[in-house]
């Protein structure tokens, strides 16, 4: 049994999304088949136009509404601490920090992590631009906030080494137990970090 080509075509497209297998893709397509054409038009156009109005901040490489300015809304905000930069892998990571309301500095988006196997070296990331930015803007602290994965760690180590000659404060996020976690199910590396980083009650 094969599906009509327009259905199979959309199943294939949905299957490319991260974490979506063919079964879920089929479910999405049959869900859409029951919707009026106007909803399909809105959805399809949203995908076609996704990048039409989007630019990249010339300073931190965050995504930004194009046509407005070359700087993103965070870089434009004079209320923010201009001396602290939080370095993240993707623009996608910024909302998580913003939601904490505990960071008021600027960001720098690397655009990925070092993945030698996939041909992504340091020169494919915005590392040179980060160094320039630190040199030219009197930055006092760089928080390296790559993901706690092997590739994120590798990239963080590379950054630490690269930034060393600049002699600025370079920090990383604390490791330990996630809030709401369960000791019983915590892996040994996380628990080891939590022990190593333990703090005295005040």
């Amino acid at each position: 049994m094969s599906y009509p080509s327009s259905i199979q075509n959309l199943i294939n497209e949905f299957s490319k999304l991260p974490g979506i297998g063919p079964r879920t893709a089929v479910r999405f397509v049959f869900y859409l088949l029951r919707k009026p054409q106007s909803e399909l038009d809105a959805f399809g156009s949203a995908i076609l136009d996704l990048k039409k109005e989007i630019g990249v901040c010339s300073r931190c490489f965050n995504i930004t509404e194009s046509g407005e300015s070359k700087l993103c809304s965070i870089c434009q905000n004079p209320q923010r601490d201009q001396k602290t930069i939080c370095v993240v892998e993707e623009a996608l990571n910024i909302p998580a920090f913003e939601k904490t309301r505990q960071f008021n500095g600027l960001y720098h988006i690397l655009g990925g992590v070092i993945k030698p196997r996939k041909g992504v070296g340091p020169e494919q990331l915005k590392i040179r631009e980060l160094v320039e930015r630190i040199k030219n803007n009197g930055i006092s602290e760089v928080i390296i906030a790559t993901n706690p994965t092997t590739e994120g760690e590798t990239t963080a180590l590379y950054l630490v080494r690269t930034l060393k000659p600049l002699k600025i404060k370079t920090t990383r996020l604390a490791r330990g137990l996630p809030t709401g976690g369960d000791l019983e199910y915590t892996d040994e590396v996380t628990l080891g970090s939590a022990l190593a980083g333990r703090r005295e009650y005040q």
Copy 2:
């Protein structure tokens, strides 16, 4: 922190898909942001054109490639047993039966289940058409294969009552333990059905 409108717009569209929350929707959008426009064009067009080439089989209401014929490929196939109809809720259910390779009859797609709360009564489903089909085509068996949910059961019971005057064999799928299941985690209704329907070793 708010996203540019074109991003927020697509996040909203993805969030409408079944089982997709805002976090997953954000992940999809950022995944697409890294893709070239040509891939977005292919994806967007696949959604816009989904229903353009699609028709509905005039006999069983399965989806079919329009322009080809008024009957779907299953109804057109002379190799299939024309006397047996398997009644399903959605066209989406057909591939599951086809994969078993144990059913060689025809299908009838109801187009949903009876949901009084959402205003879906028997007259919104293709039940009248099913009765006509049985009367006019010398059908010998109707397998009622609605989902094993409350609504599916309600619809099945309604069908049984409606088909009774036609005096044809009406069957339902066996209930019991799913292959690969675990007795420990089997709910009491399923286990009760498995007990009630137990079979003697031959």
